[in-house]
């Protein structure tokens, strides 16, 4: 019971620390200098409609690279911890409806995922969201067909190559344009069109592929772990 008391104390202490954030929030009614600059400059400099994308891919591109790497750690970490199951274990066959439904839905979902990450500079969403959607498609497929073979070799390839490509685009930015991960490597293009915003769609595509494959392989490892 004494421990409960301490927990209460700790949580209360945390509350004391966090309470100022309630009143301290929402006071502002204008963007700060940095945000305002992003909003004003991004369309002109980068050609993106979605400012969040501009921030993620270009202005704070290094964060995003790190983020991709974190996800990669998750894959590697889960793979490092969990061994793969022996092949040929008996599994229950899934229900007929699920299996057929899954097979039909899967390509559509994948397509949607591709749409999301390729339009990241125009609409909400981007590489991560798109990647997750693709992973969801595979998840569905996994549920519907338990024996769906996930070629870990292929996954590794896609993962590594897309990651490497992302890095390569970044380095090219450093060599040919203003700096590492500079999306102005390619011309900004026509504002609002799919092939615009420099390398942003390209990067998002790589991220999408990479995130998708990473998540699929995490799920695969959790699924087939024994």
């Amino acid at each position: 019971m004494i421990k409960r008391l301490f927990v209460l104390l700790a949580v209360a202490g945390m509350a004391v620390i966090l309470i100022p954030f309630v009143s301290g929030n929402g006071a502002g009614d204008a963007l700060n200098n940095v945000a305002a600059t992003y909003v004003e400059d991004a369309p002109r400099d980068l050609g993106t409609m979605n400012i969040v994308t501009a921030v993620i891919v270009t202005y704070r591109g290094l964060d995003t690279l790190g983020e991709v790497l974190v996800l990669f750690i998750a894959t590697a970490g889960v793979g490092f911890l969990l061994k793969k199951r022996r092949e040929g274990d008996p599994v229950q066959p899934p229900s007929e409806i699920l299996s057929t439904g899954g097979m039909i839905l899967m390509p559509l979902i994948v397509l949607f995922g591709i749409y999301v990450f390729s339009h990241g500079h125009l609409t909400p969403g981007g590489g991560f969201q798109g990647g997750v959607i693709i992973a969801t498609a595979f998840l569905l497929a996994m549920l519907s067909a338990r024996r769906l073979p996930i070629y870990s070799g292929l996954l590794t390839w896609i993962e590594s190559v897309s990651g490497f490509a992302y890095l390569a685009v970044g380095v090219l930015g450093l060599v040919l344009a203003g700096g590492f991960l500079d999306s102005r490597l390619l011309p900004a293009g026509r504002y609002g069109s799919l092939l615009s915003s420099g390398t942003i769609p390209l990067i998002y595509t790589f991220i999408g592929l990479k995130v998708g494959t990473e998540l699929v392989s995490i799920l695969d490892k959790l699924r087939s772990n024994q």
């Binding site: 202490g13 945390m14 620390i17 200098n33 202005y59 790190g66 070799g153 390839w157 890095l167």
Partner: protein, 1039 residues
Amino acid sequence: MVSPVYLLVVTIAAVFLVPLADRIGRSYGMSVFYAAIAAAAGLGLFWFLSLRGGAPAQNVFIAGFTGPYAIQLQLGIAESFVIVLVNTVFLLASIVLGGALIKEKAYALTLMLLMLTGINGLVLSRDLFNMFVFMELLSISTYALVAMPRNGQAFSAGFKYMIAGGLASTFFLIGTAFVYRTAGTLHLDYLLRSPELLHGGVGFAALFLVIAALLIELKPFPANGWALDVYQAGHPGVVSIITTAGTGAVLFVLYKLLPLMSVRMLQVLGGAGIVTFVFSNLVAIKQENPGRLLGYSSISQTGLVIAGMVFLRLFGIREIAVYAAVAGGLFLNHLFVKGLMFWLSERVGPRPIREWGVLAGKPLLLFLFGLAVVALSGLPPFPGFWAKWEFLKLLAANGYYPVLGFILAGSLIEVFYLFRWLGYAAVKEDHDTISPAPAVTLPMVAAAILLLAASVFFSGSLSVREPLLRLIPAAGILFYLLEPLPGRVKTVLALAASGSAAVIVLPGLSGLHLVFGIMLLGGSLVQMIAGLGSGGRRRGIYPGMVMMVYSFAGLLVTETALGFFFAWEMMTLASYLLILRGSRSARTPLLYMIFSTGGAFLILAGLITALPAGSLSSAGLGDLVFSGGTAFYLIIAGFLVKAGVVGVHLWLPGFYSEADHDVSPILSSALSKAAVAGLFIFMSLANGTVPGSDMFSVILGWIGGLTAFFGTLMAIYQEDAKRLLAFSSMGQMGYIILAASLMSTIGWTAAIYIAVTHLLFKGIMFLSVGGVVSRLNTTNMYEMGGMIKRMPLSFMTFLIGLIALSGVPPLTGFGGKWLLYSALVGKGWYMLTALALFSSAVAFLYCYRIIHSVFLGQLKTGFRAVKEASVWYLIPQFIFVMLIMIFSMVPRLLIEPISAAVGKLAGPDLLWQGNTVSHALGYWNGTTVMMVTMGVFMVPLVWLLSRVRSIQKVKQFNIVYAAERPDRPETTHYAHNFFAHYTKALGFLSLPLVRRFWEGAGEWISSIAAALRHLYSGNGQTYALQVMLYITVLYLFMR
């Protein structure tokens, strides 16, 4: 210059390449892995060198935008310093891990690379959120790698780590977001433009959370149980990276954030660092598991580095060089040492520290371990020493004395458990051995070399400019490398090395320095000859011996306070090595180290307190300011501990007696004078400037008197010949201190006269007994007896030494007594005079005891065939005997130079009339006394020779023995418990009260440690709770 981005690119590219290369083959994956890390380390080195060469700092903005809009990577000298260190250690650790990694899948390699990416990113980045991302890279990959040993312990430790780490990143994230909300930017440089935004309200809470998170990542006491489990359970290779590179990166982030913090925050943070340092060390006392022990030690070191940089900031210091000297030095020291020690623990395998005796048979590993222990304890010449000096100096200069005290206390505890461990390792116990593993040994050697290189670098930048001082460690290492040579060759080399030091140093000295120079260097040199008497390799003696002699020289030559302390610590270290080698028990070296370090810390505290204000580089000894008094008293107290005065003499009997038989004489006769030399150097420096020095002299006098008495008293009860002589040395040190405390011309003359004669006769006696013991292989006096028959020369020299010691005229000993009593009565200290007289009367007891038990009485059956001691033992004895004879014949030869060196102090001078020395009260003509004695001796001798022509030699047992004829020497040699009646009368005075006191203190500390340990319940949830409560408390303090 290469853009700093490439540092990240290299490892990230490798992250993506490794899985592909691994598909082709294991070795390809490994090659890419090592190539990437090597490239990173190489880049770091390249940058560091070019930046030191004057290249401008590099600032790179991601995506080519400037200002606060894009993430900035900065590569200045500080960054490059950290990067080169961290990447190098990472590389070495990966080599250590090689064997484990090759068994894992490629995932492990990628995780390692991602960890390194996180580390490098943390160092380079100037953006708060970006740091968060890199910190997550670092921590998440660490979480996974902790599981590497793949046992239950590792898994549960890893999970606990994740809970605590998860909390930390939660706080960091909230904090970062609200820093942005408040300040409108995440860019450090722009945050720094208006740090006051973060000093109140939301801004404060946000900054607090960020700092709290960083602190949690740095494992502050007591919110660090999870980290310890990780240190214990993780693979030593991985753990070494966590505690060196990982911690280093987080520390550097903290360094970058320092300018944002308010004074209050800095104070609390510094306090947290100190608390961590002291208490982690304390808890470590009770640790048996090497991993966990190293964990506690790592945490404490981290705490010290935090405290270092925080206090520097608090003192308003902005120069990077100072941070590099303090925090950088401490960190660098920790980095290489902890790496080395963790790798060594990998090498030794899962053994509790008590079983580290397996190292005893491995000279290289033992050397590396010793190096690490020494470096970690903050002893010279390693970077930790210089850094601590600078740090403590700044603390003192700013009046932070309590903090200084805590750091010294913590360091003392640290010294205790580290040297205890070293003691375990140095004593070979079982025949168990460890298999060779070059992949682990090579990185250790590399770390040691880098550490030594860094030591040179640091000592160069920190104004120890006397080349002789640098020679001290160099000589030690040189003689370590010469170890394979035969012992006699090494003796000759050591004699040559020490002799040349003496030849170079002595002509430059004058006054007291010269007197002590002759004593320390000359005394050691002569006695080193005895080393020729022992065959074999004699590993471990000469590095310590030469280092000790060079430290003597250094002590006398140096003109700076730092140089003095450096030489002092080197001397301590060198003598520790000597006793470590000789002693059979682990207790004696440890006790010696503890008390010596304690004494050294007192000296250190005194020195830095006495440093004149505003001295950036190390001040000269002459510039020290003693007007406050405290500094002076601290220094003197330190020397008293080293001299082994009563109360702190616990270390003394073992230390003077347990070394090798040719080393003990040097320790007991010469080394003991180093404390006296220190005492005199500082007393003459401070003479007249210390307030309240009358009281001080009285106290010092009584300390000396009581030391003389108790040392003597305890000597009479000893059964071990060398221990008896050791206690006798304690008594003689008491006389010296008593005489020194008089602060008068005659007093000081007496003190130095006694010191010189003590050097001579104690050298003789120790060497003589050493020669006997080396033949008999026992030090128990009651097992000896009748040695005069087998070793007449040793007996003769011993007798001369004994007469000199007892103070009986006509030999030199009387001069010392006469001078002492003259000075004491002259000063009016009558009770002390009586005490000294009583002590010197009691001294006869042990004098007779030892000469009778060893040389006279019945010769034991087993020793009928022993030979006279080696001639190499006798040569130094005869040299000393000759000196004693000369000084006895013409005392003026000795007294006059000494009083000239002492100069004019209070009290009357000594007057000379021919060979008669006199003062207001009395007079003494040593030459006449000698003549008369010779005369009265010769007359009856001649008479006897003429009378007794038909002298009849009788057999050993032919004695008048109550109508019996004894046939066993054991029953007829009265030697054991010789002064039983004395015990009955005055035994209460020799109760081991002092030992009980110190043991009680030790028990007390160790039960505190045991109680504190229970904080670490092992429950991950409790650890999380501790983290939360810690943050709450921190918040309350910082607000």
